[in-house]
Subunit: 370 residues, 2 copies
């Protein structure tokens, strides 16, 4: 066994994870920019808890609430300028995956005034990013514990991630109570995203040692959560903690192991049809699990031991995955797959059996027809 | 569930963990002090691998080989002066737990010339410690992945730990091959130490979330390893990796959860009789496990599920624990227990049922009579 581990983020999980440990913000500086989307930070109660804590700690703050879903480079760049304008010493991101990912980019832009929006992908700049603190309000992304930020290029509409030691939060707070105000649709999509992280990461060759442990914890927690969501129209309150617990462990898995082909293929569904990220990845799970059974039969057997019979797993995922109008023509599928012509993404090679550009086109053309 | 996680160390585990990842030393600086004991660094082959890698990387080095078992404050202080004299930018500790723990203290002394030996316990000094890199040669301590350093006061002979964010290595390398040259006696004692970490940490109330996962991995690996050691007079080569794997996961457990009463009581056996640390802790396992069964019956049941019947576990530990001449009189036991008069250590309160000074004296008076 060969394994390695790196996670410089201090993270807290559980009820009152933020309110009980807000003092850990104090060393980050005396002034911060709070970064949010439009709704969840306030609706969850996290924003009020944060401003109360900052006031108590004597930390001044401004709020930038202009981060949307699938955060745009331009929005992150503007927030970076806002952070500089208010003299922020650190960025406090409060929200779901989009806001948390954005916070990492904002911290880089804030510290590097001459960095143009797209140039963040060059991964070369002078000043280290501002420290980042994160408060999660969805159970899905795992961004709280990863060194990854997925951003969307304004011009092409394409999602692309940055990652590295400069993309870790200094401190993250994961209080399941803040996820309780998430509507059912977002709860389902983010749970599917977390499940995709756990499963795609689990099936990579590098998933061993501690990361295998994380996957073995995340997979049953999330699968049981998905089954419970499939069984009732509401979101039982008791589900919030295990879903978030599973999502964080799934984040620990992908942070070391990365994801498989459902993720880059899912990006296409999000770009083309606006399908939410988690659901977009889940759309490719039937194809992914079929290849796992074919090319990694032992690992697949252990996976279905942790979940259910293959048909039942696929049925559960399908029952939660709405793909209205999704239907690529073979020509459209081939055109999308052409983006992987020059460089097969590591998500493809990390998937059992690998995946060629042609196979990706076939899978794209097949999605929505099941 | 409430949990928190902090581990700023990048660590590598597996065959060639150091040789394949030695480049991660380069950012630490252009000159280092290699810290070793008398034998294991050279005998394991790690020292040669290290000097080869440093030479290749253009990192100059001096060697300080004056660290003994249960490292003395004075030796660490002297090594700190040696590090300053050679202009070291970082400390590279190569050895077992004593050397790895010492490296953390040396890094503090090196950066703070006016810090007197004993004053390291005050935990107040001006300059941050030099970065520390560690190469382990025993499977026991877990120091590779903890923010703890256990030091021995020259004047009193007492062991006392320091811990905190300044006691983490920047990078650690855990190659089981380097543990292969350990004689059987050290292998047994260090495996008992690792087992003590896993078990004592498991039985603390804070062992939940990821730390429970770590304990659940460490306990069966180490118990099966101890059974294999009990069954044969040699150390099968195939045992090296699971023992080190278990020891690292046990380190992750104690780093978050701490240890129970066998550790401070074990220190007394080491001070008074020179019993090696792991064996000294294991001497109190029959008493510890009896209290776990009494005060934490559910957790104890799960523990024996992971290992064996209670009598068999105790028999295995006893068969590996040599306590020649250990026999405290009631007066001696009471005198030692008096050290806990003013402040009951958290290791006592963290143990199922807690432990009073009087109970500690009884357990001390009973050890060696089983």
């Amino acid at each position: 066994m060969q394994t390695q581990f790196f996670l410089p983020t201090r993270w807290f999980f559980g009820e009152n994870a933020f309110t009980a440990h807000a003092d850990t913000l104090a060393p980050l500086g005396g002034r911060c920019l709070i970064l949010t989307g439009k709704h969840s930070a306030a609706r969850s109660g996290a924003l009020t808890d944060a401003t109360d804590a900052l006031t108590r700690l004597g930390i001044a703050f401004d709020v930038f609430d202009g981060i949307g879903a699938n955060p745009l480079l331009s929005a992150c760049h503007a927030a970076g300028a806002a952070a500089r304008a208010c003299g922020a010493h650190f960025i406090l991101g409060i929200g779901g995956g989009s806001v948390l990912d954005a916070a990492k980019a904002v911290a880089i832009y804030a510290a590097n005034p001459t960095l143009a929006p797209f140039d963040i992908y060059l991964r070369v700049y002078d000043a280290p990013p501002l420290p980042v603190a994160l408060i999660g309000t969805t159970a899905g992304t795992g961004s709280e514990v990863t060194g990854v930020s997925v951003l969307t290029n304004d011009e092409t509409g394409r999602k692309k991630s940055i990652s590295g030691p400069d993309c870790y939060a200094a401190v993250s707070f994961c209080d399941p109570r803040y996820t309780a105000s998430m509507p059912r649709g977002i709860t389902v999509s983010t749970a599917l995203d977390a499940f995709a992280h756990a499963v795609e990461g689990y099936f990579t060759k590098t998933c061993d040692g501690v990361h295998l442990l994380f996957a073995q914890r995340a997979i049953p927690l999330l699968y049981q959560g998905l089954c419970a969501l499939a069984a009732c129209g509401d979101v039982p309150e008791a589900l919030r903690e295990p879903l978030y617990d599973g999502a964080i462990h799934a984040g620990l898995v992908i942070n070391a192991c990365g994801t498989g082909f459902p993720h880059p293929l899912g990006y296409v569904l999000t770009e083309h049809y606006g399908i939410p990220h988690g659901m977009a990845c889940a759309a490719f799970f039937p194809a992914f699990l079929a290849r796992c059974r074919q090319f990694a039969p032992e690992k697949a057997a252990a996976f279905f031991e942790m979940t259910d019979e293959p048909d039942a797993v696929v049925a559960t995922i399908r029952s939660l995955t709405a793909l209205p109008g999704v239907r690529f023509s073979p020509a459209e599928a081939a055109a999308y797959a052409a983006r992987w012509k020059d460089a097969i993404p590591k998500n493809f090679t990390a998937s059992p059996g690998g995946l060629t550009q042609e196979e990706a086109a076939e899978i794209l053309a097949d999605v929505g027809r099941g």
